[in-house]
Symmetry: C2
Subunit: 330 residues, 2 copies
């Protein structure tokens, strides 16, 4: 994005890394919209739809007038949430037992609601959402301290070595996915208690502070993630303690060291946007000390809403351009 | 963006309003990249390039292999910043005297630097940038008070009735465009003194808090704006006073009333993103009380960087193979 004569900062490189799919994925592959009940809820890569072709009674892989690469549609004959969820679950368990997709090695036995807008269409195991490019929502809490000598500091957690995803990596103080039946702030409060034993008298200061959106890809699949961000100022003498076995360690770091850690290989890539957003909102990363400031802020909030706009005839004609705003230079 | 069965909130409507061009402009018109020294620096609408056709010695309006609607290129024979600025200035003054473009009625006698990345290519009068769809950068200061009875409050200014743009409208406490020769924080401090008489002992608390990007269009032209946002907490007994005649009034409003005012017709549309961003960062607008929270946050940070990516042949020299330019247009 930066013109070639500009210094490419480490922060911009990192922002490009956690947006690997947003920035380069669409051009590279034949990505197909995944459509349920006439609404696009995901994006599917060739290696996935080639497997889904084996289940024509569940997944209709077909051409579409409005989308040149074609679409993958969940059989519209399925009557409701329950039937759709059961049919998909059965296939996912087959694929899991065949060991084709590494994403399914981390089967979670925890369901994730696939929605169009606020309307739940089906649920699937959390481990499978990246195969379907389903938008994922989570919460993150920035636990921070205004330290008299170190200045602005952040609590980080080191994930347990037994976690299914990103084991042993450094992460935000508290984070978790939204699960069926829990609200956003409710999830944040629940996770704060489980992951960091934040007591009631401190959690009452929890403040909603926005959200970050990015689109990461790795060998397991696609991660179009939106994280709802909360800030929590903590007293200098408070120390988080894990209560659920998912964290091996907490550490309090001054802002600069925290950023250095996020640049390194030991940090969970998909948690970096939350740290960077925090350091920008709190005046540590500024337009004066970061040459690519505006690009980075844009890359913390990429327009995922524009990538899930395919609607089938039934609902409403809408041109599919893989959701991208037309690029004038192509 | 919201699916049709969702409640379209007032906030989402407002976010769509200040992104009128981002959301619908590209499909509607034959918009051409404006190219200077091989780099795209703007976007030009048909009614503008039809006038520029009269000046072929300055503006080359031509087809391009890589852009089906064609481009508008500043004559590449111009040697430097000075020559480019002079040639463009002469034409703008002619167009101004002919009264064709309402944007030029507000001629400012204040230059704006047209840049590619951090490289200044020419300057033009501030009033003309919207005709060329040149990215504009400005600063805004949210002056806020934690009021013991009203809670979070914001100072707003009412613009003077004699201002060239948005006369008499309500606006953020302090705002201003970046001008040639001034830094970002430097501009914020200068404007804080001129517009609101913020004294040194208070301005030292000025905190960088990010930026907002949006793409508005009105009858005057195109506004691809990025505003660098600063927060400034003020003591309850401080009252801003204007020093440069550009403000007719200041008013302190509780967060909710401030938002109500932003919804109304008396608020400067292009200042609304800054207010909304502030109220989101400070936990007043949350995912619990705003159904379209994630869409709105994305619409406060639209990826303007992706709309200015055209590069002409000269700068694509590295893509030459055997003397032929690779066709990049597919």
């Amino acid at each position: 994005m930066a013109s070639s004569d500009e210094k490419m900062s480490r922060l911009l490189k990192l922002a490009q890394k956690f947006n690997s799919f947003y920035l380069t994925g669409f051009g590279r592959d034949e990505i197909r919209p995944f459509v349920v009940e006439g609404q696009q809820v995901g994006l599917i890569k060739p290696e996935v739809y080639k497997q889904l072709l084996r289940y024509p009674e569940v997944f209709c892989i077909r051409d579409s007038e409005r989308c040149k690469q074609g679409i993958v549609e969940l059989n519209p004959a399925f009557r409701d949430y329950t039937e759709r969820s059961e049919k998909v679950d059965k296939i996912l368990r087959e694929l899991k037992s065949e060991g084709i997709f590494s994403a399914l090695y981390g089967w979670r036995n925890e369901y994730y609601d696939v929605k169009s807008g606020h309307n739940s269409l089906l649920k699937m195991d959390r481990s499978a959402t990246c195969l379907f490019g389903v938008r994922k929502y989570g919460i993150d809490i920035n636990g921070y301290v205004k330290h008299p000598t170190w200045g602005l500091c952040l609590w980080l957690q080191q994930r347990s070595d037994t976690k299914e995803t990103w084991p042993g990596k450094w992460d935000n103080m508290v984070g978790g996915g939204l699960s069926v039946g829990y609200g956003i702030k409710e999830t944040a409060i629940k996770e704060a208690a489980e992951e960091a034993s934040i007591p009631e008298n401190l959690i009452k200061n929890l403040t909603s502070a926005g959200c970050v959106s990015f689109f990461f890809e790795n060998e397991q699949g696609l991660f179009p993630n939106t994280e709802f961000v909360f800030d929590l100022e903590l007293p200098i003498d408070f120390e988080p303690k894990n209560a659920d076995g998912e964290v091996q360690k907490f550490e309090l770091l001054p802002a600069g060291e925290c950023l250095e850690r996020a640049f390194g290989p030991e940090f969970k890539t998909t948690s970096c946007p939350v740290v960077i957003d925090f350091l920008i909102r709190h005046g540590f990363i500024t337009p004066e000390n970061e040459i690519n400031f505006t690009q980075i802020v844009e890359l913390l909030h990429v327009p995922l809403q524009t990538l899930y706009t395919y609607k089938s005839t039934k609902s409403l004609a809408n041109n599919c351009e893989n959701g991208h705003i037309k690029n004038l230079s192509s």
